[in-house]
């Protein structure tokens, strides 16, 4: 069943939702938000795409397999902890560097990106599995 309204809406909403999810991810650094909720919003965008265009089109669009996203997210989060060791601190200690233009960037962002990828991957994986049923 193709609905013109849904197709048009999804074309407009899909990039907006992805942008919003990125906004939530980075806002979570110092305010409510973060990788988890950001990841959920991104997964909602994928679900909307699947509703409008059908699951096959979505699977073609999401080029990496969701499981790899989960692995990448976990790896990112685990790896962000290693930086603490380089500055003689315990595992997971936040390390910060000052960057021109961006301001201060630190390993907690990396951890949050890991959570984000993990949640997107996990929810998309479940979504694809349920759709096949």
């Amino acid at each position: 069943m193709r609905s013109l309204i849904l197709l048009t809406a999804s074309r407009l909403l899909f990039p907006l939702l992805l942008l919003f999810s990125a906004f939530l991810l980075f806002r979570g650094h110092n305010a409510p938000g973060g990788g988890f909720v950001g990841g959920l919003v991104a997964a909602a965008a994928v679900a909307l795409h699947a509703l409008a265009h059908g699951i096959n089109a979505t699977q073609r669009m999401v080029v990496v397999t969701p499981l790899k996203l989960v692995a990448a997210g976990l790896g990112c989060a685990l790896g962000s902890g290693l930086f603490g060791w380089f500055s003689q601190q315990p595992y997971l200690t936040g390390v910060w560097v000052s960057l021109p233009l961006l301001g201060k960037a630190g390993t907690p962002v990396l951890f949050d990106v890991g959570v984000y990828l993990l949640v997107v991957g996990m929810v998309t994986h479940v979504l694809f599995l349920l759709w096949e049923e």
Binding site: A71, L74, L78, Q88, Q89, P90
Partner: protein, 496 residues
């Protein structure tokens, strides 16, 4: 600095290996798993070398000071257990490369084992009650999947019971955690321990500790909450059952001992008496269940329950001698039971059956296997000079010291029944003539990996018996640290 790294490695190495190999083919996964397990073994050995001198040290993750952040602590108890669990997992994994069917190995079997090991290491090393809950969930999730890989009817049925009871246990756990946090305002185990010894045991606090012990009791499969264990452990491949018996229920007992000794510096006598009764009943019901079985894996599953009783007995005595016995028993029973499960795995693979009535005369085809099984079985029964003898001797001495004569009678008579059913396994599988009605197939040649793992674990039982003295000394040091607590509190909270 090195300590900070080494303390995290036993969790990080298997977890990272699981993450990086999850999307690879199972041949790659298998190689990565063996490498990661070797890494885990090295890290645990290093950790043990550091704590063997009696030192206790802690890491405050992310540099948040205790009691606000998450603390990881290593002492002799956790170091000893990590090493023994790591050795067993390594050998069982080697065995499983040959004994677990290919189609199950393909289903992310090796990454799941690595996640399970990471969860167990986390639960052993953490010094924070909520973090302990998280690690429990990690290892339970991995074990749910491992238990039902292959999705046969019996597996799903056993898995359902396992999941249901463990979720109930988790709910009890969380309720206890909530009560403790509400009344003390902290979940750091060391901080909790200090507060609990300063304040009288008021109602919500004793209720919280009881809830925690209850949830650990379900996870450890003590009487009367053990129903899930014999219902589920015989369904997966024997190597998985070996792993579960060495890791899962044992983590339940570990947490019981760790949290119990930290939160109840002077336990009320009604509680220790109740624990002694639970211990005795666990031993008795477990062994009676085992005597009635004729299928190897079911029989061994009931024995797990029975042996858990001995561990709880050592804990319930609340003395250095009792805990020394429990800790030595811990190492001994993990090794001996895993060895026996691996023997069952070999039968499963080569004879296609683990039903004792279908087997017989196997010593002719597999003399090494017969010897390994004999060492494991007699070690478990406690025949001198094998490891089980020293474990039980230490526990018996402790019960006599504590004048708990009813427990003594239970421990000794259960020992007799254990000997009986261990003789039954060995005599039925290896000694008696092959029944004419048998449907078992003629055995194929045993793969080298499988033989090495089984014989390896059996020889560790022998070594534990031969070098009982040094192991008992380490166990005694661990027991003293558990009851003294000062080193633990100082390592976590600092100060005098």
């Amino acid at each position: 600095m090195t300590r900070q790294v080494i303390l995290v490695l036993p969790i990080l190495v298997p977890l990272a290996a699981a993450v990086f190999s999850v999307a690879a083919s199972f041949v790659v996964q298998r190689r990565v798993a063996l490498v990661a397990l070797t890494g885990h073994l090295l890290a645990s050995a290093l950790l043990f070398a550091l704590v063997a001198s009696g030192e206790v040290f802690a890491v405050q993750l992310a540099a948040w000071p205790a009691p606000f952040g998450i603390t990881f602590v290593a002492d002799t108890f956790s170091g000893l257990l990590l090493v023994s669990m790591s050795v067993i997992t390594w050998l069982v994994m080697l065995h499983s490369t040959a004994s677990v069917p290919r189609e199950i190995q393909r289903l992310a079997f090796f990454p799941l084992v690595l996640v399970l090991l990471a969860g167990v290491s986390g639960a052993v090393l953490t010094g924070d009650l909520f973090n302990l809950y998280v690690w429990f969930e990690v290892l339970l999730m991995a074990s749910f999947v491992l238990l039902t890989l292959g999705a046969e009817r019996a597996q799903l049925e056993g898995g359902l019971k396992y999941v249901a009871l463990n979720l109930i246990a988790s709910a009890f756990f969380l309720t206890g955690v909530g009560l403790l946090y509400g009344t003390t305002g902290t979940l750091n185990l060391a901080d909790l321990s200090r507060q609990m010894s300063d304040l009288p045991l008021s109602f919500p606090r004793i209720a919280a500790v009881l809830l925690l012990l209850l949830s650990f009791g379900i996870k450890a499969a003590v009487f009367p909450l053990f129903g899930w264990l014999p219902a589920s452990y015989h369904t997966p491949p024997a190597a998985v059952a070996a792993l579960f018996s060495a890791l899962l229920t044992k983590v339940g007992v570990y947490s019981m001992i760790r949290v119990g000794t930290l939160l109840l510096p002077q336990p009320p006598e009604t509680l220790t008496n109740a624990l002694l009764a639970v211990a005795a009943l666990t031993m008795i019901t477990g062994v009676l269940g085992a005597v009635a079985q004729t299928e190897m894996k079911r029989l061994l599953s009931f024995h797990i329950v029975s042996q858990i009783g001995y561990l709880v007995l050592g804990f319930a005595l609340y003395s250095v001698a009792g805990l020394t016995g429990a800790i030595y028993f811990f190492v001994h029973v993990s090794v001996a039971k895993a060895a026996l499960f691996l023997v069952a795995g070999e039968f499963e693979r080569r004879w296609q059956t683990t039903e004792l009535t279908q087997l017989g005369g196997s010593y002719r085809d597999a003399p090494m296997l017969a010897a390994a099984c004999f060492a494991g079985a007699m070690g478990l029964a406690g025949l001198p000079p094998l490891s089980g003898f020293f474990a039980k001797l230490q526990l018996v001495v402790a019960t006599v010291e504590a004048r708990a004569f009813l427990s003594l009678v239970a421990a000794l008579s259960v020992s007799m029944l254990t000997l009986f059913s261990m003789c039954k396994i060995w005599a039925e599988a290896f000694w008696k003539a092959l029944p004419t009605t048998s449907t078992s197939v003629a055995p194929e040649e045993s793969p080298r990996a499988m033989r090495f793992a089984t014989v390896g674990l059996a020889s560790i039982t022998l070594l534990l018996g031969a070098f009982a003295e040094p192991v008992l000394l380490v166990a005694e040091q661990a027991a003293e640290q558990l009851l003294d607590r000062r080193a633990y509190l100082q390592a976590v909270l600092g100060g005098p």
